[in-house]
């Protein structure tokens, strides 16, 4: 990628980031209700209007929206995302507390889903048309049709309720430390990671299988066979390596969504991730926290896109050399 193209791409992404951040700021304000009312008024005892106004002033929520928008950007420039009304703590602190849990959960699930999905997809493609291929396609499609929460509930029923092997909720037990805590955290990760991995396996499998099948028909595969290259080497070095390109793109982009968490799975397993935090912030109309969380998610997506753009040429020499990858027929049509 040339320097000019990189600068242009970075400029585009900055623009996207600004637009997304602006929407993220505006959207929570459009919903009825406000965080101070949610937390401090109600039949069980409401603060007086005067006191509610004092609290709104503390959080800067009494000012016109444009002024709040200005403060939002000024704070952002200094790394200050404001203070969560619900948690009474800086938004950065709340997000930093939850982000590692989500990164661990969704990150591990993405890796697991990718490894298993690619392995099964490659196996199915290599033996396309066989009973094994048909069985794998049917099995994975059936799994893909199940909602994530359903898979989670089945895993819970089997591994927690019936067998009692794994814990059913939470990210960590309070009062644990050191090795005991690490083991506890890992044990509590197993079921939610497995749930997300199983729920997303289908897409990776189908993509990997389709890419493999497509590459298997390429002339260079026939040439390799004609040259006497072993089947294993053809599969791994030639076919799989080329077929992984679209899978890699797909995974890079899904890593961008990593920070938005997995609300449903986090709810089923009472897991302390960002997805559940965002849901709670929506319910409580916690504007500062919502703005911060949305910004984090947006940043994740934008950076993942940028990473995909920047890394693709390293994986595919044809892109690095600036060659047009479209088939000749398509080039003619485009021209």
């Amino acid at each position: 990628m040339t320097l000019r193209r990189m600068l242009s791409r970075t400029g585009q992404l900055t623009l996207v980031l600004w637009a997304a951040a602006t929407f993220n700021f505006a959207l929570p304000h459009l919903a009825p209700g406000d965080p101070v009312d949610f937390k401090y008024s109600g039949v069980s005892g409401s603060l007086s209007k005067e006191h509610l106004e004092i609290i709104r002033t503390e959080y800067g929520l009494d000012r016109p929206l444009l002024q709040q928008y200005g403060s939002f950007w000024r704070g952002l420039a200094q790394g200050d995302l404001g203070k969560s009304v619900q948690h009474n703590r800086p938004v950065v602190e709340v997000l930093a507390e939850r982000a590692p849990w989500t990164v661990a959960l969704v990150g591990l699930a993405t890796v697991l889903s990718a490894v298993v999905g690619v392995a099964l997809g490659a196996t199915a493609a290599w033996r396309r048309g066989s009973r094994r291929d048909a069985g794998l396609v049917m099995g994975v499609l059936a799994l893909d049709a199940m909602p994530g929460f359903w898979i989670g509930m089945i895993l819970l029923a089997v591994f927690s309720v019936e067998l009692g092997w794994l814990p059913s909720f939470g990210g960590a037990s309070i009062g644990t430390a050191g090795v005991e805590r690490s083991v506890d955290v890992l044990r509590r990760l197993i079921l939610p990671v497995a749930t997300i991995a199983l729920a997303t396996l289908g897409a990776v499998f189908l993509l990997a299988r389709a890419a493999m099948v497509s590459v298997l028909d390429e002339p260079f595969v026939r040439l390799a066979r004609a040259k006497g290259v072993s089947e294993r080497r053809i599969a791994v070095r030639h076919v799989l390596r080329n077929a992984l390109l679209p899978v890699f793109t797909n995974l890079t982009l899904s890593v961008g969504m990593l920070l938005s968490g997995a609300v449903v799975v986090e709810t089923v397993f009472a897991y302390p991730g960002l997805g559940r935090l965002i849901y709670e912030a929506v319910v409580a109309r916690d504007y500062p926290l919502l703005q911060g969380a949305f910004l984090l998610v947006t940043l994740g997506v934008v950076l993942a896109n940028l990473a995909a753009d920047l890394t693709y040429p390293w994986l595919d020499p044809r892109v690095r050399r600036g060659k047009n990858l479209l088939p000749a027929a398509a080039q003619t049509v485009e021209a």
Partner: protein
């Protein structure tokens, strides 16, 4: 002036019950709670069962019983209609070892005025207005109200947690919500660990004045999802939860060998709220017609599977100590129709919907999409109203939007659940008429109510105020702005064998400090439902 004296019961140093099957004290219990309320800073947010593990009140257990007993107090006296004196219990210490004194009580009441919480503010600055709180000596505090305050003992002193002066005095009143240090109370448990990821961990306070608690350590993870909560109970990862069972789960859990159930009568109910500021709900007879049109038996049976009682005794809760026992709000569709006839609403175009001067009677019932029982209730109410010629659409919204309706007033009808503080505290019924919840007195005209309020304010004894309160409740239920839908029963499930000391405390379910103290302590404090 007659003196009201409440003398401390024999609730100190009770013998510790042996609660496990093998006769040993319980070392650890894991109890799921449904909400993260932070590090129990009561000026920022609160969840009463948790707060009361750490803090104590002058009288216990709460304003939801008819006769709260001295707790941090040893004796409470009403000197004249507006003056009370409280002797404090000796030998009480804060969790950090400091001695509890009259100065802490004085500071607490002054601090609640300076740093309003919403939850407790009105009990010191409105109903009643406490003018002065002074320490008579190290062990005695005198309260002086602006007007007669006969309920000060049984409501205010039984409701406000006492905080430590040496902990809070350096905190500016406008910064109290930002305190995230772990709390220091006098209660039976010390909160020793909290984080928003894993929840709460409490340790028994061995020097507790009422004797050591029965369980050494309480671990309380936050599990917001009901399904996840009861899965954890099935697996044995938690031994109890403060969340009651949904009606459809009762039979399944009742048949389990590992689970025990306790039935309680919570002081709360779902209610249909009417916007009394918007025509035609500003007409008393119209509101009465709506109330009469609701088939309470059907609501109870279809929505809550019959697990409770029909709501034909109106508002507040019939089990509350301060509710008129003669209230009656029966289902009577014929009376509802005739009330609408008398108001001049008729179906003139044959579409089964009555019309009035402002057009057809078409309304919207708003309900939280996250509450399936409320959505079902709204559908039944729609059918009931259709029977008397009123058309109502059911509109589901997220919970925050429903909560916002209290402030925005942008509703015709909506369904809400009101808890013990709203329907079992005798002064909250008055406050709710002033806060905009049940009425907006004195801003909105309501001469009958105003006359009764004058009468109530002038009364100087609990008996006289209760008599007037009963009249207010009669008046309210004849033209209600809130209609209870059913009075639910609750079923609390816990793992059998680990700890079997769970008891019901009025308005608090079974997970509260009284379950965790020796049984005689709760009984002497009038804090538990004994079934006697």
């Amino acid at each position: 002036m007659a003196m009201l004296a409440l003398v401390v019961g024999a609730c100190t140093n009770g013998s510790q019950s042996q609660m496990t099957a093998d006769g040993q004290p319980v070392e650890r219990l894991t109890i799921a709670v449904p909400e993260d309320v932070g590090p129990l800073n009561i000026f920022a947010s609160h969840e009463e069962p948790l707060t009361e593990l750490v803090y104590d009140k002058l009288l216990g257990p709460s304003p939801y019983v008819d006769d709260p007993q001295p707790w941090l107090a040893s004796e409470v006296r009403q000197l004249d209609p507006a003056t009370w004196e409280v002797d404090l219990r000796d030998g009480v210490t804060w969790h950090d070892g400091e001695t509890f004194t009259a100065a802490d009580v004085v500071f607490t009441f002054e601090f609640f005025k300076a740093a309003p919480t919403g939850r407790w503010t009105h009990h010191v600055s409105d109903i009643p207005t406490i003018e002065t709180v002074e320490a008579v000596d190290d062990n005695t505090v005198r309260f002086t109200c602006a007007d007669a305050c006969p309920f000060l003992g049984s409501v205010t002193l039984a409701d406000l947690p006492i905080v430590a002066e040496h902990v809070w005095s350096d905190v500016p009143a406008d910064q109290v919500r930002e305190v995230t240090d772990l709390p220091v109370g006098t209660g039976p448990y010390r909160l020793v660990e909290y984080d928003s990821v894993s929840g709460y961990r409490f340790e028994a306070y061995e020097n507790y004045f009422a004797g050591p608690p029965l369980v050494q350590e309480l671990v309380m993870p936050v599990i917001e999802d009901p399904s996840a909560t009861f899965t954890a109970l099935r697996t044995g990862e938690i031994q109890a939860t403060s969340r009651p069972l949904a009606p459809e789960l009762i039979a399944e859990f009742a048949s389990s060998d590992d689970i025990e159930l306790i039935t309680t009568r919570p002081l709360q109910f779902p209610e249909l709220r009417m916007n009394f500021e918007r025509p035609p709900f500003d007409v008393p007879e119209f509101r009465r017609a709506i109330s009469r049109a609701l088939d309470r038996a059907e609501l109870l049976d279809a929505v809550f599977l019959g697990e409770g009682r029909r709501a034909d005794k109106g508002y507040p809760h019939p089990d509350a100590a301060w509710t008129n026992p003669d209230l009656s709000t029966p289902f009577d569709a014929a009376e509802a129709s005739s009330l609408l006839d008398e108001l001049g609403y008729e179906d003139t175009d044959g579409d089964s919907v009555r019309e009035g001067p402002a057009g057809p009677l078409r309304f919207t019932i708003q309900v939280a999409a996250t509450e399936p029982t409320d959505v079902r209730a709204a559908e039944l109410i729609r059918a009931d109203l259709a029977e008397i010629g009123i058309s109502a659409d059911v509109q589901t919204k997220d919970a925050a939007s429903i909560g916002e309706l209290f402030r925005s007033r942008d509703f015709d009808l909506y369904i809400n659940t009101i808890t013990a503080h709203g329907v079992a505290d005798p002064t909250q019924f008055i406050m709710s008429h002033r806060s905009g919840y049940l009425w907006k007195a004195p801003d909105m005209p309501y001469p009958q109510w105003d006359a009764l309020f004058e009468q109530w304010s002038a009364a100087t004894t609990i008996a006289d105020r209760t008599k007037t309160l009963f009249e207010m409740q009669e008046l309210f239920n004849s033209q209600p702005t809130s209609v209870p839908l059913y009075y639910p029963d609750e079923y609390h499930a816990y793992r059998a064998g680990t700890f079997d000391g769970w008891v019901e405390s009025p308005g608090s379910g079974v997970v509260h400090k009284w379950s965790l103290l020796p049984p005689e302590v709760g009984r002497d404090a009038n804090a538990v439902v004994t079934g006697e």
